[in-house]
Symmetry: C2
Subunit: 128 residues, 2 copies
Amino acid sequence: MIDEKVKKLATAANFGTITTLMRDGSPSTHVMWVDADDEYVLINTEIGRMKYRNVKRDPRVVVTVWDAADPYSYAEVRGEVVDEVRGPQARAHIDALSQKYNGTDFSDDSIQTERVILKIRPLRQRSY
Amino acid sequence: MIDEKVKKLATAANFGTITTLMRDGSPSTHVMWVDADDEYVLINTEIGRMKYRNVKRDPRVVVTVWDAADPYSYAEVRGEVVDEVRGPQARAHIDALSQKYNGTDFSDDSIQTERVILKIRPLRQRSY
C-alpha cells in the first residue's frame, strides 16, 4: 500500500524524479510528472524511451516527489516496476496528468512512440 | 568541465537530487542542496550517512538539479565521486550553502557526525 503522505504528494501537481538503472548498473534520473493510486506509484512514459528499456531489463527504480511549495517536504519510494499499461488507458492517463500540471490535454504531436504507464510497487517508502 | 547550464542551475538556490547505489545495486535518491565549481558538481553530506557509505563502495552517482521557478528546466549529470573534502573547508561549505538557500549559517546542532564535500566528475551532462 502507498503511504498517505506519498499519495498526497504524488497526486497533487508536484514534480518528481524516476531513477532507472543502465545496462552497466549505473543510475540515470529524470524529472517527471508523477501519480499514485492506493497500491502503486504511477509514471507515464513512452516505450521508445531509455527509461522504459531500462526497467524492462532491471525493474528496480526509485521515485522521489517533493512539495512544489516546499522541497524540504519530500518522499522517496524505492520499488520495482511490476506491471505496465499501454493503449487507450495510457493515452488517457497522460491527458489526465497534463490536465493536472498544465490544465490542458496532452498533444498527440508530443507522442513519438506509444505512451505506457509503469506501475511501481513500493518496497520502501520514506518521507522527510 | 561543467556545462554552463549545469553550473548556472547548481550555483543558484535550486534544489536537486543525488542518487547513489545500495550494496545490492539498487538505487537510492535524496533531495539535496547542490553546488558546482568549474570542474565538479559538489554535494555536501555527512560521513555518517548512507549515501556517503554508498559512494565509498561504488562511486557512480547521478545528480539532477531543476530551476525552482520552472522544473521543466533541469539538468541531469551522471558521473563519479572522485574526491572528498572534510574538515574546516567542508564545514565552511555547508555554511555557504545554508546562506544560499536559507540566508543563515548552518547550525552546529544539525551536524551529527562530520560534514564532507563529495566532488563529482561529470561523465555525461544533459539539460532539458
